[in-house]
């Protein structure tokens, strides 16, 4: 039983690791009061996933130079609207960015 955790920088590691985990796992309570919020969180998480994927894809296309100026303008306008809409919805449901993620256990985090 010779478990060691050794480092010269305990405090720094403690801080960073806490950022990752928050140290306290969360659980959605499916009772009437917060079922709605749990639901909103789930739905918004999935929308965020799609939005981020689209943004990333757009960036790759810009990088590859495969979009015309007009296309860049149109995509930019749409992505901006989407981003603003999501900000609104997050505010309405009182959800923070960090909360819109799903931990899929052995598969890691969704985003």
């Amino acid at each position: 039983m010779s478990k060691t955790v050794e480092t010269d920088s305990l405090e720094i590691f403690a801080n960073e690791m806490e950022k990752v985990k928050g140290a306290l796992p969360k659980k959605i309570e499916a009772n009437p009061e917060n079922a709605e919020k749990g639901l909103a969180k789930l739905v918004l998480t999935l929308i965020e996933l799609i939005r981020k994927l689209m943004e990333k894809q757009a960036m790759r296309r810009v990088e590859a130079g495969s979009l015309t100026d007009e296309e860049i303008e149109r995509v930019g306008e749409t992505l901006e609207k989407l981003e603003n809409k999501m900000k609104e919805l997050k505010e309405i449901f009182g959800l923070k960015d960090e909360e819109l993620n799903l931990n899929l256990g052995p598969l890691g985090d969704l985003m």
């Binding site: 478990k3 955790v5 480092t7 305990l10 405090e11 590691f13 403690a14 690791m17 806490e18 985990k21 140290a23 306290l24 796992p25 969360k26 659980k27 959605i28 309570e29 499916a30 917060n34 079922a35 919020k37 749990g38 639901l39 969180k41 789930l42 739905v43 799903l102 931990n103 899929l104 256990g105 052995p106 598969l107």
Partner: protein, 83 residues
């Protein structure tokens, strides 16, 4: 508000832990909460959020069913006025 599983009695006692203990606890959590042999017991204490996805979807489906029941008709194509 999501119910946080109170791993420690209260936040202060956690901060009171010596750094070594904090880091050790974090290291254990880093492993034992999601890794190892991952099979669900038949009691879902529900730490892995895969269960939560299922639970969330169950809630979603229940909500849809409840709404349909309240309206007295399926949601799609309903021409009723909201109650």
């Amino acid at each position: 508000m999501d119910r946080q599983i109170k791993i420690l009695q209260d936040k202060n006692s956690y901060l009171d832990l010596r750094r070594q203990e904090r880091v050790t606890l974090l290291e254990i959590l880093d492993r034992a909460l999601e890794k190892g042999v991952v099979i669900s017991g038949d009691i879902v204490i529900s730490v892995a959020d895969v269960d939560l996805v299922y639970l969330g979807l169950k809630v979603l489906l229940s909500s849809v069913e409840t709404m349909e029941r309240l309206r007295g008709a399926p949601l799609s194509g309903a021409a009723e006025e909201p109650t």
